[in-house]
Point group: C2
Chain length 228, copies 2
DNA sequence: CCAAAAGTGTTAGAGATACACCCATGG
DNA sequence: CCATGGGTGTATCTCTAACACTTTTGG
């Protein structure tokens, strides 16, 4: 089955990096400086080194791009249509990453001439097949967010239930009933009320909450899901 | 971001080919004739050619291996730990395939010294990281089967409700209540009763059904899922 | 004082679960 | 005639969905 005569394409990784900004789902794009697709926006990425695992490569690129180390990162899938890169055969392995825009100031975000955040739902024209890759990443994000507590990756450690509800509304793309939402999300027993309140925001300041990941681990083992 | 100096690993595809046999979920394995892992069982696979898309390569390998053309085939993901192939760096893109053992006589199945079907839940020792790949493929299969009518890929065109229930019990790994199962599965409106009955089987022969894919397309567009 | 967001319960209906017996037939 | 798998209905309970007003406070 294996022989020593076989093709050796280039293999890259690309990252769809998502963040929540002002109640909108954003994706981080970089502006290409060179041909092909010079001047076009693209998902950040790079080549996989010979001695590194695929997700190591993704993590490395992610850190180079955003300066952030500990982030949620997951493989989306391989895209390898011949001709997707006009220079040579490049198979890319798409990844989905989430950064918390509240805790970290993302390096690239300040460097706006080269990298900036765009609405994930309506991105500008993208290089290569990155439009397709972005769509697939978004689909995966929605799927995962509706069954696992992915919001911990997007929100600050202490958050209000309104922030949480906005997260679900943005990701799922539908409006949710406030009372039903609170009832359900609290019923899982993995979100704890804090004694602290938000400062200097709305007319009335909202109670802060945190996600109790230990409680969640226990509940998950007992077969609980986290569907909204 | 792209340069012309970058690594070129080998890229292969591997297929976890599933089938339902005597009410058991089976996976097709081949016996390796050469080193490394000579004599070990492995998932069938091969290298991606320079001018073919990834899923084309998977489809080609699948046909070479099983003689079957039209099958359900979907990407599971890329596996690329350095050293997973002792000879050189090989990144593999795992695929999940389903063949219907009733309609097709799979070519490799008769050629038992080289390829045969094993229980998917307890496979023999496998070459490379194929154990991990098989686990991931099984997980994906379970996930998909519990929300989409995947059974059409496993069962003959005309099937009994008992066969259908067995399918779900095998894939989901839990016993289901007969009455509740029938109520629910029929409530989707995508399974039609036929006037025909099974021949020469059980004491009492069971009514045959078929999946109405046109009706399902309509229902799906209306937002229906197919969860059990 | 008022605009704006926070917070809070109840009810009706849909869907899920639990459960047991008779029927038809081949051997 | 009996062992075997085929087929059927109901009651209860849980979960979901719909729905509106009071509270607080910064400007």
């Amino acid at each position: 089955m294996y022989s020593y005569q076989h093709p050796h394409p280039a293999v890259s990784i690309d990252c769809a990096i998502f963040g929540l900004d002002e109640g909108e789902l954003k994706v981080l794009l970089i502006e290409r400086k060179h041909e092909p697709f010079k001047g076009r926006w693209a998902l950040p990425g790079g080549f996989v080194e010979m001695d590194e695992d695929i997700d190591e490569a993704a993590r490395r690129e992610l850190e180079e791009e955003t300066g952030v180390r500990k982030v949620f990162l997951e493989q989306v899938g391989a895209f390898g249509a011949p001709g997707r890169d006009p220079r040579e055969r490049v198979i890319t392995i798409a990844h989905l990453a989430i950064v918390n825009l509240h805790d970290h100031k993302v390096r690239a975000a300040s460097d706006a001439s080269e990298a900036s955040w765009f609405p994930a739902a309506k991105p500008p024209a993208l290089a290569f097949d990155h439009r397709k890759i972005l769509e697939a990443s978004l689909a995966k994000l929605r799927d995962k967010a509706s069954r696992e507590p992915l919001f911990v990756e997007f929100l600050p450690k202490r958050f209000t239930l309104t922030q949480l509800q906005h997260f679900y509304e943005v990701v799922l793309g539908e409006a949710l009933d406030k009372r039903n939402f609170r009832k359900k999300i609290m019923s899982y027993g993995a979100i704890k009320e804090l004694e602290a309140f938000e400062v200097g925001k709305a007319p009335r300041s909202a109670r802060l909450h945190r996600f109790d990941s230990k409680a969640w681990t226990v509940l998950k083992k007992a077969g609980r899901s986290f569907a909204i």
